[in-house]
Subunit: 350 residues, 2 copies
């Protein structure tokens, strides 16, 4: 149930992350609401260079601003994957999509999906994939073999997004930070640990789907040995203070061995989202615990900034909030959408 | 891959632990070395009342001190399960065992195994189980559906074994503590979180095999709502300081919501077993971190004792060691094998 089905190609026998085959044809289906096309929009925003075109089932569907391509166009242009970039309500695959997806499989394109419904539950898709050699890739599923975390020091540097809660902007912060680091001529790579991040990066492991014995080992695979001046910018997951998901966060923290962390927070969040009995920790308290636990596998780790989703505040509230947080933490505090991440990069390089 | 195969009976649709069907016939095979029969010996030691007999393939095999029964005897006596109580080197099922196990399946006995090799990889066993209605139960596999941890307070009380490392006696400590509590007329139940513990208790969840998103939810299932004066005595796993397995330990800690913890330690261990780069924390340091993190889901938790494996020390060293540890922690410090757990029970009831 946990392994991806590559109908013909045999799985890579070595330990590896999930890997996607670019360039992408982004499947928009008949989706007219941008809210449900966040994945496709995110891929275009952050990895335009991986995107060859879009496939829309009618003219009123969301336009991602990239060329419309048919399956036939895509096949002759050597496109690697049809990426399902929209999330239909309920997570199932609408009947109207199936024939198109099957055509893509027949044309040899891999299908990349993060939907709840499995492509491999559709016998017609499995049969077509077996024939064409295409892969049906579920980015919610970890690769088939994961190692136990070794705890061994590896070369290269790592910065991990951590948070006071789930859904506070860890993926966005990592991508914005990668962009700011590259702009500053720092050798940096975004590393994905969740399904949307994997679709953007083209590789990664959905850490929260790893069996708990292997979660820190999975995190080690996500940010492997690298050049000594290279930085992995690692997408975070959950929170050490989360009553449901803290195990995921600790495994990711230990396996990432971060040289630096960035604390991500939503300025108006007071309780764990969906767990109203659980107050959020303060930002300084959350930084302290993350540093304390991170130092088990990297004694040199430090916090270099706070990334705040301030969309719930007015401009004057926002200024006051960030000013006060900066005084409390003695760290650069930014809303990455409004302020960018340059001040965090400066702190990191200090 | 993660679900148990019950060839005919449909799985319980509600959320549940792995559940075994007593009484047991303990399968000893041709094993002559007690080291490899630890599971069978543990079941007889701690749950003699669940054991109807033993099945030995020749007369020189380990004698557990319970009646020898044939499969035919067992079937007519209404025995529920053939429990594989020995671990052959390599973890595979020897050819010489297969015919006997198949006979048991044909006679309607469930087969309970914690071996690396899966019973369900043997087509003959699966076919026989389908016909007889017997289950092939792998105690390494969690039940098919696990919830996300709710963090909701539930009635009843809980005491969790925690540790400075893996393999420091958490299961033994929990069983010895359960025994001491019952002797003191306290309503107490051992709760299993690992494969051998599950075979002893007849129920439980192998926590380290749970997908990381569900590890605290699995821990909640292991110690469900109970009478307000009832104590669950929960087997611990790993250590918060373990570079590979800390995620498992944190999920178990959060989901158990322990009112009390017992710190388990091996007196001569200086490094994480198998991770020579990682020093063990001191006992007080390990208590502090466990209490700090446990208080996220149970603010009232406290440590009530230290359970020490002192088998590596001489008698005078042992006395000094426990005396000094008691002074450092201000808690009862015992070797449960030599001293019993009465002083920990006293501290718990104070």
């Amino acid at each position: 149930m946990l392994t991806n089905t590559c109908a013909v190609k045999s799985a890579n026998p070595s330990l590896t992350t999930v890997k996607l085959r670019p360039p992408y044809l982004l499947f928009v289906g008949d989706e007219c609401d941008a809210v449900y096309a966040k994945t496709a929009l995110g891929i275009v925003q952050w990895r335009r260079e991986l995107v060859a075109g879009q496939l829309r089932l009618h003219s009123k569907a969301i336009d991602l601003g990239v060329p419309d391509l048919s399956i036939a166009d895509a096949a002759s242009a050597g496109i690697g994957s049809l990426v399902i970039g929209v999330a239909p309500v309920g997570g199932n695959i609408p009947e109207s999509w199936l024939a198109v997806i099957e055509d893509a499989v027949k044309a040899g394109l891999d299908i990349v999906s993060g939907l709840h419904a499995k492509m491999t539950d559709h016998a017609s898709l499995v049969a077509a994939a077996r024939k064409s050699g295409a892969c049906l890739i579920d980015v919610r599923s970890p690769p088939p073999r994961l190692p136990v975390g070794s705890g061994a020091k590896r070369s290269g540097k790592r910065i991990l997004m951590v948070g006071t809660d789930c859904a506070v902007g860890k993926k966005y912060s990592a991508l914005a930070l990668e962009q700011a680091m590259c702009k500053a001529a720092i050798n940096a790579t975004f590393r994905a640990t969740g399904q949307t991040g994997i679709m953007i990066a083209g590789t990664g492991i959905p850490i929260d789907s790893a069996v708990s014995d292997f979660v820190s080992g999975a995190a080690e695979l996500v940010s492997p040995t690298n050049d000594s001046d290279h930085w992995d910018v690692i997408e975070g997951q959950g929170s050490l203070f989360h009553p449901g998901y803290a195990a995921v966060s600790l495994g990711l923290l230990h396996g990432s061995q971060p040289d630096a962390i960035v604390m991500c927070h939503d300025a108006t969040r007071t309780h764990v989202a969906g767990w109203p009995e659980y107050s959020l920790p303060t930002v300084p308290e959350c930084i302290r615990l993350n540093l304390h636990l991170a130092r088990r596998t990297n004694p040199e780790t430090r916090c270099v900034g706070v990334s705040v989703n301030s969309s719930g505040l007015s401009e004057s509230q926002r200024k006051n909030y960030l000013h006060q947080l900066q005084a409390e933490t003695n760290l650069p505090c930014v809303d990455p959408i409004l302020d960018g991440c340059d001040s965090i990069v400066e702190e990191l390089m200090r």
